[in-house]
């Protein structure tokens, strides 16, 4: 028995960053909006509080803020001829759950993609010749330019109260910032977070080698700040507990702190939590969705929520799964290369290192991701790939994000993992180590994709998403190149001891790596090669908009959230200024 509810103007499927931003913009334009979220509500003044947030076991090890895999997970295999098995508890990546989604437990690293990233296929063809791009490298130009997105990047900076050092202000290079970044229309709202000891040594070493170090930009306010929604943010406390945890200081940006307080007071908005959207209601002939069906997880009751506009604003896997289940867009077939839904799954190809300085006090528990220093000299097309045998790159950073002790106790390689020798090494080095990472891109490959699993099902009986993913030769070569550059910088830092951490040859879902999963519902300039158009509107359902990193054609060498936020504002602007006046395709195929 399905209860049919009264139609609303718009419904959000997921209330993380993108659902909250879109709901806010649509209600501002006068639309009635329902936000459906399958997880629980998360209210900062009740949940983002001391002392509970200092509980590493609860948040970092038992991953309290992450998706409940007993309700839903994905299956995984490295290669198409293998049997995919369910990820029984997330490990390599950690999608969040509840209001705020993955935007609560992130570290807050806040980047923009390079202008050339948005036209990467064209840029590579111009610089190296079209034939230099391997046939199986299915990268694509974005259907939107950096210049078009810039105002939205700027707005998202301000919403977040981001802290950093501009390197390119309206075309002028600013010393101490990232000289490779695209021109910014405005500076960061807040000054950089203070630099840590290890990152400062990295900065000096990088400079001595002719590189261009700068403070890592973060969506964390370094000082109290009032954002454009009128919400007052607090200043970062350098607590060292950002990752996998919420922020009690209201300094690290999240939808919960930076958007939801105004949305909660908006009469045109209604939030329904524990509401698990089972499917999109698709009228193929009319090329429209009529609404969504969902299950109230408190009672098991099913509802249909008709809506004029449906916004898919869940994680990469959920967005892709909904389109495959509804039959919207042609599923990707890796054998023929035909189809688009599930295509161009990409990831972040990180590697790194650890250095030990016996005479330096790192105080690693005093931490904030913004205390880190990066160089961008080997990202995207910031360097010449001629003769290197790979494309792509990434920023290289020395990190200072905190070191909660269950999970973060580096000792030199070769130290036993237990016993008296382990104890002595841990006691000796805990306060003297600093870590590094290379934030490598993943240039999409024809063999990495998502489809529906033939065997395993979620709590609603729906087929799980099946992920087929492995690292490519291109990406491994890229990663080795970045590690060699990192090696040179660490040597110049003159540590007592150091080691580099290469990626294993095969991707594994076990140790944590990155929650920068991308692709599956890629945006593009025509329906043959993409799922959504430049405004994130589905080619096959004009009142369906798909938000989040699932629309990325590939993943570049940066954290994705800055671009996810900017795209949400870009899409919202198109809906409120164009679509609501004249509903229909915003781009004609």
């Amino acid at each position: 028995m399905v209860t049919k509810l009264k139609e609303v103007d718009a419904v959000m499927v997921g209330m993380g960053w993108t659902g909250a931003i879109m709901a806010r913009e649509l209600t501002k334009a006068g639309l009635d909006v329902v936000g459906l979220e399958r997880g629980q509500d998360r209210i900062p003044k009740e949940e983002f509080t001391l002392t509970q947030l200092r509980d590493e076991l609860r948040y970092v090890q038992r991953i309290e803020l992450m998706q409940d895999n007993s309700l839903d997970t994905i299956t995984f295999r490295n290669e198409p001829d293998e049997r995919a098995l369910p990820i029984r508890r997330f490990g390599a990546f950690l999608p969040g759950e509840g209001v705020g989604g993955s935007g609560i437990h992130w570290g807050g690293l806040h980047w923009r993609f390079l202008p050339t990233d948005f036209r990467i296929r064209s840029a590579l063809a111009e610089r190296y010749g079209a034939k230099a791009i391997p046939d199986d490298m299915t990268i694509a130009d974005w259907p939107v330019s950096y210049a078009e997105l810039e105002p939205h990047y700027d707005h998202f900076d301000k919403l977040c109260g981001a802290s950093g050092q501009a390197g390119n202000l309206r075309g002028n290079t600013i010393a101490g910032g990232n000289p490779f970044e695209g021109p910014r229309s405005d500076d960061y709202p807040n000054k950089p977070i203070k630099t840590g000891v290890g990152p400062a040594i990295f900065r000096d070493a990088a400079k001595s080698l002719g590189y261009h170090p700068f403070p890592l930009p973060v969506a964390t306010a370094s000082a109290p700040y009032v954002n454009p929604e009128g919400i007052t943010l607090g200043a970062c406390e350098y607590c060292g507990h950002c990752n996998r945890t919420a922020c009690e200081a209201n300094a690290k940006a999240s939808a919960n702190v930076n958007v939801m307080p105004v949305l909660r007071t908006e009469p045109k908005f209604e939030l329904r939590t524990r509401s698990f959207v089972s499917r999109l209601l698709y009228d193929k002939a009319a090329k429209k969705v009529t609404g969504v069906a969902y299950t109230d997880l408190r009672t098991g009751e099913e509802f249909e929520q008709p809506a004029g506009i449906v916004v898919l604003s869940s994680f990469v896997f959920g967005n892709t799964q909904q389109l495959l289940l509804a039959g919207i867009g042609e599923p990707y077939d890796p054998k023929t290369g035909r189809g688009v839904v599930g295509k161009n799954y990409a990831y972040q190809f990180e590697a790194g290192g650890t250095a030990f300085f016996e005479d330096k006090w790192m105080n690693p528990f005093i931490g904030a991701p913004g205390m880190s220093i990066a160089i961008d000299d080997f990202n995207g097309e910031n360097f010449d790939h001629g003769g290197l045998g790979f494309f792509g790159g990434g920023y290289i950073a020395c990190n200072n994000g905190g070191a909660p002790p269950i999970g973060s106790r580096p000792v030199p390689h070769g130290t036993p993992r237990w016993g008296s020798e382990w104890k002595h090494a841990t006691a000796k080095w805990y306060q003297h180590a600093t870590g590094f990472n290379t934030q490598g891109s993943v240039y999409a490959n024809a063999r990495n994709f998502m489809d529906l699993d033939p065997t395993y099902r979620d709590a609603l009986g729906r087929p799980l998403i099946r992920l087929t993913y492995n690292g490519t030769d291109n990406d491994h070569k890229m990663s080795h190149y970045l590690l060699a550059k990192l090696d040179g910088i660490i040597k110049a830092m003159n540590p007592t001891h150091y080691e580099l951490h290469q990626r294993p040859k095969k991707f594994t879902i076990v140790p944590y790596q990155s929650t920068h999963n991308t692709g599956g519902t890629m945006m593009g300039s025509d329906p043959k090669s993409s799922v959504v158009n430049r405004y994130l509107q589905a080619w096959d359902a004009h009142n369906l908009f798909v938000l989040g990193a699932s629309v990325f054609p590939q993943q570049h060498g940066y954290n994705p959230t800055g671009t996810v936020g900017a795209l949400a504002y870009w899409s919202a602007q198109a809906i409120t200024t164009q679509y609501v006046k004249n509903p229909g395709p915003l781009v004609h195929a």
């Binding site: 002392t51 200092r54 007993s70 508890r89 000891v197 607590c239 237990w418 065997t455 076990v510």
Partner: protein
């Protein structure tokens, strides 16, 4: 807020520190032959109150105590694993939601996957440790003629190395994977907030100089730049 009774208990557990009971129950300790006494130096088990366990059996307590004290032996850096409450911690974890497989996808079919596909057994963590302890003791009995907790100290270290490396062959059960799970839960018990029963007297935090709470360093970050930060550690109970 922690209620008064619980708070007093937590504080009591913290203050008791090194004088708190070893992981062995009185009964089991009494039944243990003298020559097979646990390897690590320990305070007299009879002097303190016996630990109360929720789910671990006496055999499992003996096994986990032996593991905890071999992984974290008493020395000048900290008391032994059991004296730091590691076995009490493990017992409580396995008795609760984590031990019951909370938020884990547990639908079949179950297949042995590639290592890259992660854990694929049907067992909850509590069931997994029960099965692993049985397998480890069976191997130890076959190899050394007795259970792992009854081995002499040097022999036990050797046994752990074999289990860690996977050269110990358990009956249809991965020895090295089991060792990794034991190592992980022992480290949790040594470094998690003391309110979970381990890290008594914040011994794990003191060993490395982790100050715990409240971790508000905005006014301190400059003053302690490249200078040793020393503060007596505080736990959640200290602020509750």
């Amino acid at each position: 807020m922690v209620d008064d009774t619980r708070r007093k208990f937590l504080l009591g557990a913290g203050l008791a520190g090194a004088s708190v009971a070893s992981g062995l129950t009185g009964e089991l300790a009494a039944a243990t032959p003298a020559e097979a006494a646990p390897a690590a130096p320990q305070p007299a088990a009879t002097a303190a109150e016996p630990e109360t366990y929720l789910v671990l059996t006496a055999t499992e307590v003996a096994f986990m105590s032996a593991m905890a004290d071999t992984i974290i032996p008493a020395d000048e850096l900290s008391p032994s694993g059991t004296d730091c409450g590691v076995v009490a911690y493990i017992d409580r974890q396995l008795a609760g939601a984590y031990g019951a497989g909370d938020r884990v996808y547990r639908s079949g079919p179950f297949h042995r996957g590639a290592p890259e596909q992660g854990y694929q057994l049907a067992l909850t963590p509590r069931e997994y440790f029960t099965a692993g302890i049985a397998a480890a003791n069976a191997w130890s009995h076959k190899t050394f003629g007795k259970e792992l907790d009854r081995l002499a100290p040097a022999e036990r270290i050797d046994a752990l190395k074999q289990i860690e490396a996977g050269t110990a062959k358990f009956e249809n059960f991965s020895a090295s994977a089991f060792f990794n799970r034991v190592l992980a839960i022992v480290m949790e018990g040594f470094f998690s907030d003391p309110m979970y029963g381990g890290n008594r007297n914040m011994a794990g935090w003191k060993m490395i100089g982790f100050p715990g709470l409240p971790a508000l360093y905005r006014e301190k970050v400059d003053a302690y730049y490249d200078k040793r930060y020393v503060a007596p550690p505080k736990s959640i109970a200290d602020f509750s």
